[in-house]
Amino acid sequence: MAIELDIVAEFLEAYGQSGDVINALDSALPKLVDHVGCEAGSFFFGDSASSELVCQSCVGPVDIRGIRVPFGAGVVGRVFESQAVDTVESVESDKDHQRSVDESSGFVTRNLLTLPVTFKKSAIGVIQLLNRSTDAADVFPAPFIQVAKALASGLALGYHSAQITDQVRENDALLRDVELAGTVQEALTPTIPEGLGFAAGILPYKQLSGDFYDYLEVGSKVYVIEGDVSGKGVAASLTMAQAQVLFRTFARANRTCQEIALLMNSELYRDLGVSRFVTAFIACIDRESRVVTCVNAGHGEVLKLEGSGESMHIQSSSPPLGIVGMSDFQPAEDVFPFGDWRLWIVTDGISEAELNGAEIGMDGIRAIAGRYKDLSLQEALDSALNLIRSKKLATRDDATLVIVDTQAIQ
């Protein structure tokens, strides 16, 4: 058994050094062939993309690397499908033996031992040993098969390890992409200068957020949007970026909130088309006419808390952006004169956050807004988001908060 272990150990060592299974097999296969007294040997890899077995390594008088055999064809195809060790003591009597390979290569096959290379019952390929020179009646005795099986197991292990390595490399690349996308997303999230009449903050639940906020100052107006894209990950972040660009484009054109919502819906409805949507609350703080105009497109309720303690909820007047066409999308505007009140615009990562196992809902938002009503705009925002940072409020989603306070305009 020592020689079998030596061959497998050498194979694994070569693989460990090169990280290349075929390179390792190229050095181990000749030793196996030599040890068992065969004339030639080969390894065929099962390529599921083409449904063919491809010879990747061989030793012997003829180089057959690159030769392809369809699954199920020839002796290698038969073993690949049956996953059973196969001995052919005389190819003359085997109906599956492909004589065409011999004819084209000039090699004369007499006998064959073919073994499946499998990992967890999944077929990777086959090893074939040809033309054992022996006078014994039993051309492929059990100890001989045992050696070949040991190498096949080592090969399977090497292949599996190589697959995992490739997967880790791919995952690393993907993670780097996600990290990069997160950095881009962070760059798209603006810092809000003081004195514009609102504050905003976002706590992504994972690396990429589906929530966003943005603003644009156009003359005497400050346009603000808070949005939540359905779904998560890279796809949602791309939609988010698209929504932000649309918002900026239409806000820059000095459109009303209703027009911005209509135009954004029209574009997103045309482009998304795969049951993705964006809930949005769009507001315009007009410092000249001293009113705040807003539109709620499927964004859930928004709290308006008066200085006196009275409150109201601004309901959604239309479905989210991107779901229905122009004819079915009719968002309504609300208009509030400047005064002693604040708008608390939250995404569901906050309204559905839990305190002691119960969803806080709008009653919780009202309690938080009431508690922090005497703090400055920025302090109120930070204090509210700290409830999530400190895990006093438990959430499973991105948490975004925009607070509008016209008394904070400078």
Binding site: V229, S275, T279, S317, E359, D363, G364, A367
Partner: protein, 122 residues
């Protein structure tokens, strides 16, 4: 609790239950898109849903979209009160025609109310 799709003859029955979110809807989305073209009727039952997020709502929209594309009928036979609340808040009750709202089940997530003591928060 799981989200399933069963195709029987010309009808695809989609049953949503438990938590319907991004973690539980991936396979269902693929299955919906792979429904055979012979299906001419799509029916959603969401009466046992305890939680639904935007990904869950997106699945309902996907079913509607697939039905419309194949000129098939589409119906939501029943939704849980939680689902109805989400649809109403987002004005999606304008998009979906809901045939009935199931009575309150025992598995819905508890929600705070006006009498809830939030002093633990501060």
């Amino acid at each position: 609790m799981s989200n399933t799709i069963e195709v029987s003859g010309q009808t695809a029955q989609i049953t949503l239950s438990g938590s319907v979110d991004i973690n539980t809807t991936g396979e269902l989305r693929n299955a919906i898109q792979a429904v055979p073209t012979s299906v001419k009727s799509f029916v959603i039952n969401a009466s046992d849903v305890s939680y639904i997020d935007s990904s869950g709502v997106a699945v309902m929209l996907l079913v509607k979209q697939v039905a419309e594309r194949s000129s098939s009928s589409f119906a939501i036979t029943s939704v849980s009160p939680m689902v109805m609340k989400v649809l109403e808040l987002a004005k999606l009750d304008q998009v979906f025609k809901i045939q009935s709202v199931a009575s309150e089940g025992g598995e819905n997530k508890p929600a705070a109310g006006p009498s809830t003591d939030f002093s633990d928060l501060f």
